[in-house]
């Protein structure tokens, strides 16, 4: 039991993760090919690019809108139970969450159409893990304080249990088309290969103990709760068997699921970039509009019904001849009958978390001609005739919206980007969201010949004490890029 609780703590605070899949530094950072993954309609200038396998795109994000690791585990001499009481139970709400997202690009390739140079095609594969656990405030209070004492009469909301997680592999193919000098659009089709998925997101019900009509207390529960899992049991069974082939079996099952051997789904991304004038650009994109149909390796758990009990009750004369001495067991059986815990194998559809980006950018500080000559840009740019890409500075704002189990989560970003020739580009952001109001990020894109390297770090101010950070993210990658035949 103690190990179990500790494990839960370690998992939560170990991943103390994000969600906010918001990649505000990468968005519209069009010198980096991976920006196409955030807006299929971003302006592209390269002739082709190849991501270095596994190293082309790595992103890790972690966030907690509530308590931080430092809040609980700082070596500050304060009693740990007191810290949990004051900083978790009293401070966190059901809207707070712990979550994590990471992405690893398997491969990523892009090329410009030979016959249609205004089209840029890209395809690839990446793995993604998303987990979000909302703070189950009332259930935590019930466990910590119980239903007695000051909680007599309090209704504990069972709907506070809300969590969702998945690991999947994504195969994608996108088309980016420059329709005019001012408008570029794009779309990307996605095939999802699920490794596992679980969700418990539509729970409702309550538990309450109050003074009874007859007896001292009456306890009532109304529950409509469900945990759906797909692909979890297969891994669990292998681990549970714990044989000499466990590692091999796990690898085999994982590989099979990665390569379309598990539950599958479809989705798409779409986006555009539009020049309002030569120096002002607006962009928008919508990502992961899709679903996975979970029909294999399903194990669902339900708790539905309602029950109310005042304990063992005897009414005379009605029960005068009831000499059964198993009244307690009867009571337990009655509750289990009216509030059954059941398992089933019904398939279900899980929706991908839809993300929306929007931005407006103002470019200024025109570069000199020499800089332009050396920029290497060009298939698309040369023919474009516009001045896009030759401005040394950009400033603007971005909006990010994400569909989460408890509604839309927004983030607002202001940014400044500085280009130093075609070799180096820096972007700094300030972002406000539920995780942090002091999120300053910095991104660097370095182009050394055909080799492209980028690294983007968020919430840099928190690096003074990482353990006290509500949010952290890091993305980096290597690509080979060609703008012409050289």
């Amino acid at each position: 039991m103690r190990k179990g609780i500790k494990l839960i703590f370690v998992i939560w605070f170990g991943m103390h993760a994000l969600y906010a899949q918001n990649k505000q530094l990468l968005y519209d950072f069009n010198e980096i090919p991976q920006s196409l993954m955030l807006n299929p309609g971003v302006k592209t200038s390269e002739k082709w690019h190849v991501g270095i396998p596994v190293l082309s795109g790595l992103s890790f994000q972690a966030g907690t809108s509530g308590v931080t690791v430092n809040d609980l585990f700082a070596d500050d001499g304060i009693d740990f139970t007191t810290k949990v009481r004051e900083r978790v139970l009293d401070a966190m709400t059901r809207k707070d969450d712990f979550s994590t997202t990471n992405q690893i690009e398997g491969f990523y390739v892009g090329f410009r159409g030979r016959n249609r140079p205004d089209d840029y095609y890209s395809f690839g594969m990446y793995g993604e893990t998303d987990i979000i656990v909302y703070w189950p405030k009332d259930l935590a209070l019930l466990a910590f304080e119980g239903n007695g004492g000051a909680n007599i009469g309090r209704s504990f909301d069972l709907g506070d249990l809300n969590l969702r997680g998945e690991m999947l592999n994504v195969f994608h193919f996108g088309v980016n088309r420059k329709l005019s000098n001012d408008l570029t659009v794009g779309a990307r089709a996605k095939l999802y290969s699920s490794i596992f998925q679980f969700q418990s997101i539509h729970n409702s019900g309550s538990f309450r103990t109050s003074p009874g009509q007859n007896n001292v207390y009456v306890s009532s529960i109304v529950a409509d709760m469900q945990l759906q899992t797909a692909g979890v049991k297969g891994f669990y069974d292998i681990l549970d068997e714990d044989t000499s082939t466990t590692t091999k079996d796990l690898t085999s099952l994982f590989t099979k699921r990665v390569l379309l051997g598990g539950n599958l789904g479809l989705g798409f991304d779409a986006g555009f970039s539009y020049n309002l004038n030569p120096q002002t650009t607006i962009t928008a994109s919508i990502l992961d509009v899709g679903f996975i149909y979970n029909s294999k390796d399903i194990q669902n758990y339900t708790l539905r019904g309602n029950a109310s009990t005042e304990g063992i009750t005897v009414f005379l004369p009605e029960d005068i001849n009831d000499v059964n001495n198993d009244l307690w067991q009867e009571l337990v059986d009655d509750i289990e009958e009216t509030l059954p815990y059941e398992e089933n194998n019904s398939g279900y559809i899980s929706l991908r978390p839809v993300k929306v980006y929007g931005s407006i950018r103002y470019d200024f500080g025109e570069a000199n001609g020499r800089s332009m000559e050396n920029c290497g840009c060009g298939v698309n740019m040369e023919r474009g005739g516009g001045k896009s890409g030759i401005y040394r500075n950009s400033v603007g704002g971005q909006l990010f919206l994400m569909k989460r189990p408890r509604g839309i989560q927004p983030a607002l970003t202001g940014f400044y980007q500085k280009r130093l020739g075609r070799t180096l580009s820096l972007k700094t952001t300030y972002t406000v969201d539920k995780y942090s109001w002091t999120n300053v990020g910095l991104g660097l894109n370095l182009q050394a010949g055909p080799v492209n390297f980028y690294i983007l770090g968020d919430n840099l101010l928190s690096y003074r004490n990482v353990a006290d950070s509500h949010y952290a993210s890091l993305q980096f990658g290597f690509n080979i890029i060609s703008w012409n035949d050289n």
Binding site: M1, N70, A74, S219, T423, G457
Partner: protein, 184 residues
């Protein structure tokens, strides 16, 4: 020139954040000090009888006796974590009878571990309550953790003919418990 400028920018601006990041000292062993001790409340037993039933038993005296299996406290998970608690009894009597009630706590062998007795006077104007504390300073918590069944006996200590003039006269026994558990 350009290359050196790039390197300078990288060194001065970016990497210090990443590689000079730090963290206050963390002590994850504090988790072992976490104490979770919820108070759980529940109704236990409720008995009510009308006066006619008491009279119908005649001069036998005891008009209700029942032994009930009651393993709520001696389940291993509960017994190991039970720290202390209080059983609250409430009695109402609007009949004309003087009533005697005995609740015996029995172990697995049927041996009596403890007895809670009540004498309830007739026509009680108010609810009678009694709180029995188990734990440090009170009765032994072992009584509860080894209780396997309850024997409840209710007897009439008065005549078997009188009838109360009040509306719907009854004897009522209510009981509930609040217990402190150590989950961690």
């Amino acid at each position: 020139m350009k290359g050196s400028r790039c390197r300078l920018l990288v060194v001065l601006i970016f990497f210090p954040f990443l590689f000079n990041s730090c963290s206050e000292k963390q002590d994850f062993d504090q988790f072992e000090d976490l104490s979770i001790t919820p108070t759980l409340a529940s109704g236990i037993f409720y008995l009510e009888s009308d006066e006619a039933t008491i009279n119908a038993a005649g001069d036998v005296g005891v008009f209700y006796v029942q032994t009930i299996n009651f393993d709520a406290f001696n389940e291993e998970f509960v017994a190991e974590r039970l720290l202390e608690g209080t059983i609250q009894y409430e009695l109402e009597n609007t009949t004309t009878k003087r009533i005697g009630i005995a609740i015996e706590f029995l172990d697995e062998n049927g041996d009596v571990l403890d007895v809670e007795s009540f004498i309830v006077e007739p026509n009680m104007p108010e609810v009678f309550t009694r709180d029995v504390f188990y734990g440090p300073g009170g009765r032994s918590i072992d009584i509860l953790t080894t209780t396997s069944s309850l024997r409840i006996a209710v007897g009439n200590l008065s005549d078997s003919t009188s009838v109360s003039t009040t509306s719907d006269p009854k004897i009522k026994l209510s009981s509930g418990a609040e217990f402190l558990f150590r989950l961690k």
